[in-house]
């Protein structure tokens, strides 16, 4: 879409929404939010970017193929579940560590890494669909890997 307003606003909006999606993701442990909704917000941010600047720009900005991102998230979620084999507790048990980062105690958990995995799966899968739909008709899907650059 070629309107000046959208093109001006889109980068700012995308950045803000991506930041917000991370906020929602981290907030999700105790309050409304989480990996799924965070991933949806991030995917819509990238979709707006795609509407303003085209599919190629999003693919370049992502660096990785959306499906690779989804795969990475799935892997992270699975590994978060499997970590508990080392601690003698059943699959997918939440395990916590409390490192001091810059003088602040930061609770980290496999629950959180699982949620980050969900976030990545949702971003990857939804953006993959969105980009396929935004793609100029006539261009085969296969060619986008080449125009997209990185891989």
């Amino acid at each position: 879409m070629n309107t000046l307003i959208l093109r001006t606003v889109a980068p700012v909006l995308t950045a803000l929404m991506l930041l917000f999606s991370v906020f929602v993701l981290l907030r999700g442990h105790n309050e409304p939010g989480g990996g799924f909704i965070g991933g949806l917000i991030a995917a819509s941010a990238l979709a707006i970017y795609g509407i303003a600047f085209g599919v190629g720009a999003v693919r370049r900005a992502l660096r990785f193929h959306p499906m690779a991102i989804a795969g990475c998230g799935l892997m992270l979620a699975t590994v978060s579940g499997l970590v508990s084999i080392l601690f003698g507790v059943p699959f997918m048990t939440g395990l916590w560590i409390y490192p001091e980062i810059l003088g602040v105690e930061v609770p980290l958990a496999t629950v959180m890494s699982f949620d980050v995995g969900v976030y990545l799966v949702v971003v990857g899968a939804i953006i993959s669909i969105a980009l396929a739909l935004e793609q100029e008709p006539g261009l085969p899907e296969r060619s986008d890997g080449k125009t997209g650059g990185e891989d």
Binding site: H29, N30, G71, L74, G88, V89, P90, M92, T93
Partner: protein, 529 residues
Amino acid sequence: MAAPSSTPADLSAALVLTPPPLADWLVVLPVALMIALGAALMMIRKSVRWHGPIAISGLVLLVLLDLGLLWRVSVHGPVTMVMGRWLPPFGIAFTADLLGAAMALAAAVAALAAGIFALADIDAGGRRYGFFPFLMLLMAGVSGAFLTGDIFNLYVWFEVLLISSFGLIILGSEPEQIDGALKYAILNLVGTTLFLIAIGYLYAVFGTLNMADIARKAVGLRDTAPLVTLTALFVLAFAMKAAAFPVNFWLPASYHTPRIVVSALFGGLLTKVGIYALIRVAIMLFPVEREALSLVIAVSAALTMMAGALGALAQDDIRRLVGYLVIAGIGNMLAGVAIGTPAAVSGAILYALHSMATMTALYFVAGEAARLGGGSWSLAALGGIYRRAPWFSAASFLLFLAAAGLPPLSGLWPKVALLKASLDIGAWWLGAAILVSAFLVTVSLARVFLLAYWRPQPGLTGAGADGSAAAGGWRMSLPLGLLTALVVFFGLMPEPLLDLTQRAATGLADPAAYVQSVFPTSAQKGGVP
């Protein structure tokens, strides 16, 4: 938020506090392994040359894990692990009994064979499209469905395997495939939705989704709750998945469209997941209600057998023909569910295991026969295979005998068991249906052998008849040989398998051990929570 210090609350009421033995992980690892490998292959989706080796070694590992699980279950009884340490029924339980473990192992073997076959059958384009990641995720869904002990979780694994199968069925994106995929997708989504509705209904009645919990609570609820309606909904939903008679039309309309190895996977595995779920729900959870529906299921079983056998007889396309054979087999398994005695259920389980190997192999045979016999799927055009590839023809012949249920192959024993079980309860017409359908299947496969193997290829004479025989190489002959060897072995030595399925069926008829594995204390107190 969990606090760093330990809380004073009594955790033993909510959490599993004893560390699970390492061997219990065998019930989760098949699924976790397949998901992790599927994810890894998605991450390297462009480096297709790595897909094959990673996927094959993963499938070998899956077979070993399932073997270990089956051994463990067979020695120590059902194995349970609850997710996230929460005690059942709140924590989602993975419970493997003999039925689940045996089915998971058979599925893993069939998938390994298909994975090796795919090395030759799926070209670089198909691999870039994501054949191997889809295969891994399909196996995650199939293994999850066999190993879960929670009925909503079963639904989730159904979805996982469905989504992966959608990806596999349109591999190549030809118009014909899209057409087949659409029929497949819509019917399966309707089936899954019915399943979901039934689960919602069940949750409203029982207030639990854990299968062991349902099994023990059903006794007390039988007088008041509408359990027959519930069971009927489940039976309909699973019959759709399994392609039983009135709702079987989607299978022949779609299974011939994808690549042959995908057809092999679907024909070998997916309908059997439906049968497994049906056995689990109808035999273990609601045996009394199944009794009430027995006649309906039996009639549907007989009609499924006849529809499958007659359809196979009428087909010209060998892929469609094998699709109808899958349906005929489903009819046999359904007969076992309809009769419902341990002997009959044992026959149905045995048939399912046999069918996983045989149907997968028969699709391989169809693919190879089409390649060797002149590049057509039509029986009218095929010919001269016996002359070109005698070894392949011998393997096909054995598999044909197995599919028809003739001795000395593995198809005989489940049919004998089912026939005896149906005569034992006086359902002579069901026994007659088993025999007639077996006869018709024999005729239809004899027709294939006669036309495609013995007859010289139409329009081709003399020297040209000896074409490129073994172009497929080991990647095609190894999986076919592996499955044929299994079929022959268990045809000649059925004892261990018969013993296994009988114990599995007994465990379903009296799920005390299953319940005990999920609720170790309460079962000792007498089964009431």
